[in-house]
């Protein structure tokens, strides 16, 4: 039968179920299908810290939100247009996020008295009027799945487990997704268990066919591919892009990679990924604890590898003393913090960006560490390379601040050509760098005219010290955590020397700013009085919020920071150009604190720590209020908040 096909510019779907229902896989497959189809997209996985939280309960609900569009989008979306709920708990946990009129596809199979009670429902919401504001499709997805896979002779439990693929098939039909990649994926994934493989493929096809042939759905939708710059694309998560960036850094610098790490959510996937790529000369060391992970990385850096350690906030806390050692010994080192909700164990699977001040100041003494932050999943690749460039060029530990949203979220990523990647020269020291003279006051008692190696003699431009690795004859030297004498690097307790070295270490980090390109100021007509300044994963929500404000006819400028330390040299001058500065962050105002202190600018914070990305609509309101204040006008954003299906621009 022929059905009506309606064109949409963008859709937000949330797949929700029990944490054992395979919702992450379902969402991931739908995402891959959409990516291959050519939509722009952004995803938000959201799952409990418990591997298998009690079945059927609200805390056990796992969800995956995907926003896909025929145009450039920036966020996973504030509110889903479609909710797929596999049980009562999934419905209840997510209903509050749905706008009126949203579509709900619900598996009725688990709507038993027991499961309704577990989810906190006194009455079955499918049988009363509580859902009448939504377009509800109540279907026995499990029952239909079991029926569809009957021929494979699976137990009822195993048969029912394919229900997520039935749901995926149905949604794939509804939105005209290509099916080949998912079928190929299932065939590969379950290659060793043919009956499970065949059941999953059959369930997926049955879901598709159910949409196609029954009269449950009278309309299907089409979301055209989004125009994108030419190139080869793939869908990529932040943790994968970051891992590839690290491998690329090894190739581009010619250095072996040494990752010392201890498993921690949400950073472990980087360890998992790198451990698969030993053929690139990558060593992965799963240490006994966070401290040993960074310790081994420092040892590897001392020996001429690119030492890396990966962790999340609690791990950074444990590594602080070791980071200080790397600051003092001035060795290249990459410290990757995939931030999560804190303090303490906090919210292990939820996102936050509250480790900025820890990265800046979380060590004893004056201990400056450069900080870079990626702004989107794909950008993690470039951020990793930039962090490696700084670490090697300036002989310093570098902190890279990713977060849970970037780590697990995904987006289409244009695969770069190798010629676009920076060349990084380790520039190992190979010979003595100092001629002893009688006037020398180094106290080493060497003879006049003899050449020797001074491990703390600095490059004039970068202030970096030489990197002399064991095995290099004539350059034997000792480094450590005690204060170094300028130049010769022997232990020094001299007051003037300490003052000089503290200032020199700070000056070295500040020198990095000389190598940074000018900031990109997004202020289309130059009329904005309000600047929105951000860093890290808030790039998407801020960009979406800014678009809404502009769409409603108002002016606002946006700057997003890649480098948090040192701050770019032109930032101060840019801040001065605007009457008001808004700094949205998923913390209580950490960048705002730094900016206010450094530039004496009365920056205003916009802060949420809900473990979820900022919402574009709420952010637009905050920007609008500031615009009203700055320009002395009334700001009305209502026109910008509804989806315009014909122009389809700028819903985030």
């Amino acid at each position: 039968m022929s059905k009506q096909v309606k064109r949409l510019d963008r859709v937000i779907i949330r797949f929700a179920g029990d944490s054992g229902d395979g919702m992450q896989l379902t969402g991931d497959r739908f995402t891959q299908e959409s990516a291959v189809y050519g939509n722009d997209l952004s995803t938000l996985p959201n799952f409990p810290a418990e591997i298998r939280a009690p079945q059927g309960t609200l805390p056990g609900v796992s969800s995956f939100q995907v926003h896909f569009a025929d145009h450039d989008i920036l966020t996973p979306g504030d509110a889903p247009d479609v909710l797929v709920a596999m049980n009562p708990a999934a419905l209840r946990a997510n209903l509050g996020d749905l706008p009126k009129g949203a579509t709900i596809v619900v598996d009725t199979h688990d709507f038993t008295a027991r499961n309704l009670t577990k989810a906190g429902y006194a009455d079955n919401p499918l049988e009363d009027e509580s859902l009448e504001e939504y377009a509800v499709h109540a279907l026995d997805l499990t029952g239909m799945t079991v029926e569809a896979v009957k021929e494979f002779g699976l137990s009822r439990k195993d048969a029912a487990r394919a229900k997520n693929m039935f749901a995926l098939g149905l949604l794939s039909w509804l939105y005209g997704r290509p099916t080949e990649s998912t079928i190929a994926f299932l065939q590969k994934r379950f290659a060793k268990v043919p009956d499970i493989r065949d059941a999953n493929v059959a369930a997926y096809r049955a879901g598709w066919n159910f949409g196609e042939t029954t009269e449950t759905f009278v309309v299907s939708y089409e979301i055209k591919p989004a125009p994108m710059p030419t190139g080869t694309y793939r869908n990529i998560t932040g943790n994968l892009a970051l891992s590839y960036g690290l491998i690329a850094g090894g190739v581009q610098s010619g250095l072996p990679i040494f990752l010392g790490s201890y498993p921690i959510t949400p950073a472990s996937d980087i360890l998992h990924e790198l451990s698969k790529h030993k053929s690139f000369g990558v060593t992965t060391f799963q240490a006994e604890d966070e401290i040993a992970g960074i310790g081994a990385a420092i040892g590897a850096s001392f020996s001429g590898s690119l030492g890396i350690t990966t962790t999340s906030g609690p791990g950074i806390t444990l590594k602080s003393e070791s980071i200080g050692l790397a600051v003092m010994t001035e060795l290249p080192l990459l410290v990757i913090d995939v931030q999560r909700g804190g303090p303490s164990t906090g919210l292990p699977t939820k996102t936050e960006q509250a480790d900025l001040l820890q990265a800046m100041f979380g060590r004893n003494g004056e201990s400056p560490v450069p900080i870079v932050a990626p702004r989107s999943p794909g950008d993690c690749f470039d951020a990793a390379l930039e962090a490696i460039r700084i670490a090697i060029t300036y002989r310093t530990p570098v902190m890279l601040l990713s977060d849970g949203m970037l780590a697990n979220g995904s987006e289409p990523w244009r695969v770069p050509e190798l010629s676009e990647l920076p060349e990084i020269d380790p520039g190992f020291a190979t010979e003595p760098n100092h001629v002893v003279s009688t006037s020398s006051t180094n106290g080493r008692g060497s003879t006049d005219g003899k050449r020797e190696f001074w491990p703390y003699l600095r490059d004039e431009q970068t202030l970096a010290r030489p990197w002399a690795i064991p095995g290099t004859p004539g350059l034997e030297h000792r480094i450590g955590g005690l204060e170094k004498g300028d130049g010769h690097g022997n232990i020094s307790y001299d007051p003037a020397n300490h003052d000089f070295m503290v200032r020199t270490r700070a000056a070295k980090v500040e020198r990095i700013a000389e190598s940074l390109p000018p900031l990109e100021v997004d202020d289309p007509d130059g009329n904005a009085k309000v600047l929105v300044l951000g860093w890290g994963s808030t790039y998407g929500p801020i960009g979406a919020g800014v678009r809404r404000v502009r769409k409603a006819g108002y002016h606002v400028a946006q700057v997003h920071l890649r480098h948090l330390n040192p701050l770019p040299r032109d930032l101060g001058e840019i801040l001065e150009r605007y009457d008001k500065v808004l700094i949205p962050e998923m913390n209580l105002g950490q960048l705002a604190l730094l900016v206010r202190a450094r530039y004496l600018v009365d920056a205003v914070g916009y802060n949420h720590v809900r473990g979820l990305p900022l919402k574009a609509a709420e952010l637009a309101e905050a920007i609008g209020n500031l615009v009203a204040d700055a320009e002395g006008i009334e700001v009305d954003l209502t026109g910008a908040e509804t989806v315009d299906a014909t122009t389809g621009r700028d819903e985030g």
């Binding site: 190139g231 793939r234 006994e288 040993a292 310790g295 030297h477 000792r478």
Partner: protein, 368 residues
């Protein structure tokens, strides 16, 4: 090599992959390994003796000086690297074994040494020590045990005897001490030895065997702190008492000690351990033929552990000295390098070509 003959046959060497000095260059001396830094330990400190012994012993290895790395933590003994003309790192408290693990794993051509004290290795760094030992990373750990915290001026340490009166324990310490050798054996160490700072010949012999062992070599060195714990090891050092106090362990030799070998070790069938007995032909003595013969190569560490238990936990009057255990087991660093070699064996193309293939892999699409 100099030093006491410990009766050990050659096994695959710990320094096999480390480059040697050219044969036509002048022989190295201790001076070649002496840096120009002024040594700043207290007068009479046992650390001087160990430093001299190490500086004197290193030329025997015949290794290129630039391929030797000493790593230390924090404590008096951890100043050691500054005084050696090799590569070195004086790191942070307790972490030297982890840093050395990174060095040894990333470079097969380095001879890696860790210098640590019992506070550094057994208190703040206990975790790293036991994991280095179980992994069997190719390095030699020299644990200077003076049974006191020296650098922080005299608090009790994890090897101090219970009841120790110190600045932090005016009514006596409450903690039961660690026996470092027992701990190392329990942590699956493949080479475990104990020696004494003042017995240069024995110390050098143990160092030589430790350097030659492929894997983590753990060497406890009894070291006197003349300021805060003077005389802690007098029993094993004094010519008057040492024959009665030291139970010498030499592989293949019956374990006998005391004046004229009057005492020895036998298995104790009641406890499953070992015990000290009088040796001789009298009725209440045990025949010399029945004395336990030391087997450092036994795959089972049970007897070595039992012997380690004969060390006094309180004031030291008796301690086994020598190599308790030396067994061969693949090292973590060799295995890690093997995996990299194995992974690289099957691949073709330059790293750049493979990088392009990697990042451009997966489900891709092209926008023209």
């Amino acid at each position: 090599m100099s030093g006491t003959d410990l009766g050990l046959p050659a096994v695959r060497s710990g320094i096999e992959l480390v480059p040697s000095v050219d044969e036509d260059t002048p022989a190295q001396t201790g001076k070649d390994f002496t840096s120009n830094q002024e040594v700043r330990w207290c007068p009479g400190c046992g650390d001087y003796a160990v430093l001299k012994a190490v500086q004197g012993f290193l030329p025997d290895l015949g290794l290129r000086r630039e391929n030797i790395v000493f790593v230390s933590g924090i404590g008096c003994s951890s100043r050691f690297p500054y005084y050696l003309e090799t590569y070195g790192m004086h790191s942070i408290h307790g972490r030297a074994p982890s840093i050395a693990t990174g060095i040894a794993t990333s470079r097969e051509d380095l001879s890696v040494w860790v210098v640590t004290g019992e506070g550094d290795a057994l208190s703040i760094g206990g975790n790293h020590l036991i994991h280095a030992l179980r992994r069997n990373v190719n390095m030699t750990i020299l644990l200077f045990n003076n049974r006191i915290y020296g650098l922080t001026k005299g608090q009790y340490s994890p090897t101090s005897e219970t009841g120790k009166i110190t600045k932090s324990t005016p009514m006596g310490s409450l903690d039961h001490p660690f026996n470092p050798v027992s701990l190392a054996l329990g942590a699956e160490a493949t080479f475990v030895a104990r020696t004494i700072d003042s017995d240069r010949k024995h110390l050098t012999g143990v160092l030589s065997a430790a350097a030659g062992h492929r894997g983590t070599s753990f060497v406890e060195i009894y070291q006197n702190c003349p300021i805060f714990n003077d005389g802690a090891f007098d029993a094993v050092k004094s010519p008057v008492t040492r024959d009665e106090a030291i139970i010498p362990l030499v592989h293949g030799e019956p374990i006998r000690f005391g004046t004229d070998g009057s005492r020895g070790l036998i298995r104790d069938s009641a406890t499953g351990g070992v015990k000290v007995v009088a040796v001789g032909d009298e009725p209440d003595q045990v025949s010399a033929d029945d004395v336990l013969v030391h087997d450092a190569f036994s795959p089972d560490a049970t007897t070595a552990f039992a012997i380690s238990r004969l060390t006094d936990a309180g004031r030291l009057h008796q301690a086994p000295i020598g190599i308790f255990r030396q067994v061969s087991r693949p090292t973590y660093d060799d295995l890690a390098r093997d995996q990299i070699a194995q992974a690289g064996a099957g691949v073709t193309g330059s790293k750049s070509e493979r990088l392009a293939a990697l990042i451009g892999g997966g489900d891709t699409w092209t926008v023209a």
